[in-house]
């Protein structure tokens, strides 16, 4: 399922809404999650899962082709932990 298929599905379930409003609603949700992660905040959606950011220290990596040592700068990566209900739903 892509974002546009998700929008189409939500529009189908809510025939009283304009498609462009559904688009804004779906985009707003993912935008809010992204913005929170950019602030370093955690996003906790009980039953679904939690988004957070983790920092990775800089390290000396290696170019796997040449074996040359390269410095990998420290970075912040987004992380998702599946919620209990969703985990059970997927395994059910």
């Amino acid at each position: 399922m892509t974002k546009s298929e998700l929008i189409a599905r939500i529009a189908e379930l809510n025939p009283h809404l304009y498609q462009r409003d559904v688009e804004r609603i779906v985009s707003t949700i993912f935008e809010e999650i992204s913005a929170a992660l950019c602030r370093g905040d955690r996003v906790e959606l009980r039953g679904f899962g939690a988004f957070s950011v983790k920092s990775r220290d800089s390290r000396v990596g290696r170019n796997p082709r040449t074996g040359e040592a390269v410095n990998v700068v420290s970075k912040t990566v987004p992380f998702f932990k599946t919620g209990k209900q969703l985990r059970e739903l997927i395994n059910g």
């Binding site: 379930l13 370093g40 996003v43």
Partner: protein
């Protein structure tokens, strides 16, 4: 890092501010969107949200695990797990902001 937690309430508020719907209906829509994503994943479908990331279900085989406390061997049954792969757009955005946040403090 600010250490705040965003929940359904803030997502609902954002939807409410963005579109002219009631808070109640905004809350229902947030729930319905998370529900549709969950349903697709439970069918084993991949969910791709452009400039955010993709959720995919991966099948894991059986393996022997160990109870770390007792050292006892226990089989870990085959199961399906959900993995989230953030998009490059999101990763870059988070890194740019993280750099700005650390410069500011």
């Amino acid at each position: 890092m600010s250490g705040n937690t965003v929940t359904r309430a803030q997502l609902t508020e954002a939807v409410y501010q963005e579109v002219g719907l009631s808070r109640n209906e905004s809350a229902d829509l947030v729930e319905s969107i998370l529900g549709e994503v969950s349903n697709a994943l439970s069918r084993g479908e991949m969910v791709k949200i452009s400039s955010f990331g993709s959720f995919a279900v991966r099948q894991k085989g059986q393996r022997i695990g160990r109870n770390p406390k007792t050292g006892e061997e226990v089989p870990i049954l085959p199961r399906r797990v959900l993995v989230f792969r953030p998009s490059h757009v999101l990763k870059n955005r988070i890194n740019l902001s993280a750099r700005k946040l650390s410069d500011g403090s």
